[in-house]
Symmetry: C2
């Protein structure tokens, strides 16, 4: 891909993320306008809206994964884990809007987004393991239920349309359950 | 309504709950078959699929509310609260299927279902207040975040398609965060 084509692709993806994150029913035309390119350029890179949505979702998942990978180098595994958890939940609304737009289009999530999702789960699992090793998260919590809490908190915050203050108090309750020192 | 018409209505609603809870895209014809009535009888009671879905959702919400009201008489407010929470989450999959079918039909949730939802929230708030008063739930947890946890756990369990054992472990983590004796 030539440099200017790559620039256009990046610009289109950035615009699509913003436009669809706000209103999943937005049109490809809205994306072209915000990106400052012609509609023909958008279609050259992404022949259908589904392909564009898919690319945006993949980009989001990969970005979260990369953040989780970087956080695995932090010296404090506890704040790396809880900080990442909070970030995922607070960004959930626009990510879920994109995922819902995809499923509303009747299209199954494609291979790229599935791979990105797997990468994210692995990176999150690594953050969890480190926080358990350092004693910041209870050792008896297993990955599937912690991951379910992450998904649940994200979906709950989105469904109810929580204000940030309520979301933070919800997460505080949840984190207390994840910390060690309490027996069930 | 005559007694046999009322019987038919009850039978149709029961069948619709089962059919749509399993497959939201099911047809009114499937409902008629399971209810053992003719399709004309279904349409006489519920002229559109949306009206039928709406009635099923309202019925579910009212039933949950009634259960919460009954549980408010239990002698152990802690097990009433946590037991109700678990029940809502474990039944969430089919209830959400019905709610999603309604929103996929492009129809906003109508007044009956909204009223039933308000009644459920009030009854749940009452169970929470009693469990806080008895010291089974921490006093500093406020209703909005506890309700967000209930919605989140329900949606998380449904989205991930959790096995019952993982769901129970997820709830155990969550309940530990709701119990008193831990400071944030």
């Amino acid at each position: 891909m030539r440099a200017d084509a790559r620039d256009n692709r990046t610009r289109i993806l950035g615009a699509a993320e913003e436009v669809f994150g706000r209103a999943p029913s937005a049109s490809t035309d809205d994306v072209a306008k915000l990106a400052g390119v012609g509609i023909a350029t958008v279609f050259r890179h992404f022949p259908t809206k589904v392909e564009l949505l898919e690319a945006v979702l993949t980009l989001r998942l990969e970005r979260l994964r990369n953040r989780a990978v970087r956080l695995a180098d932090e010296t404090d595994p506890g704040s790396a884990f809880f900080g990442f958890f909070s970030q995922v939940v607070s960004e959930a609304t626009s990510k879920l809007a994109i995922a819902d737009a995809l499923s509303a289009s009747g299209s199954a999530v494609g291979q790229d987004a599935r791979n990105a999702g797997t990468g994210l789960r692995e990176a999150f699992g690594n953050l969890l393991a480190r926080a358990q090793h350092s004693g910041d998260v209870r050792a008896d919590a297993e990955f599937p239920e912690v991951y379910a809490l992450l998904i649940g908190a994200s979906r709950g915050a989105t469904a109810v349309g929580l204000e940030p203050a309520v979301r933070d108090r919800m997460l505080a309750l949840l984190y207390d359950g994840l910390r060690p020192g309490r027996t069930t």
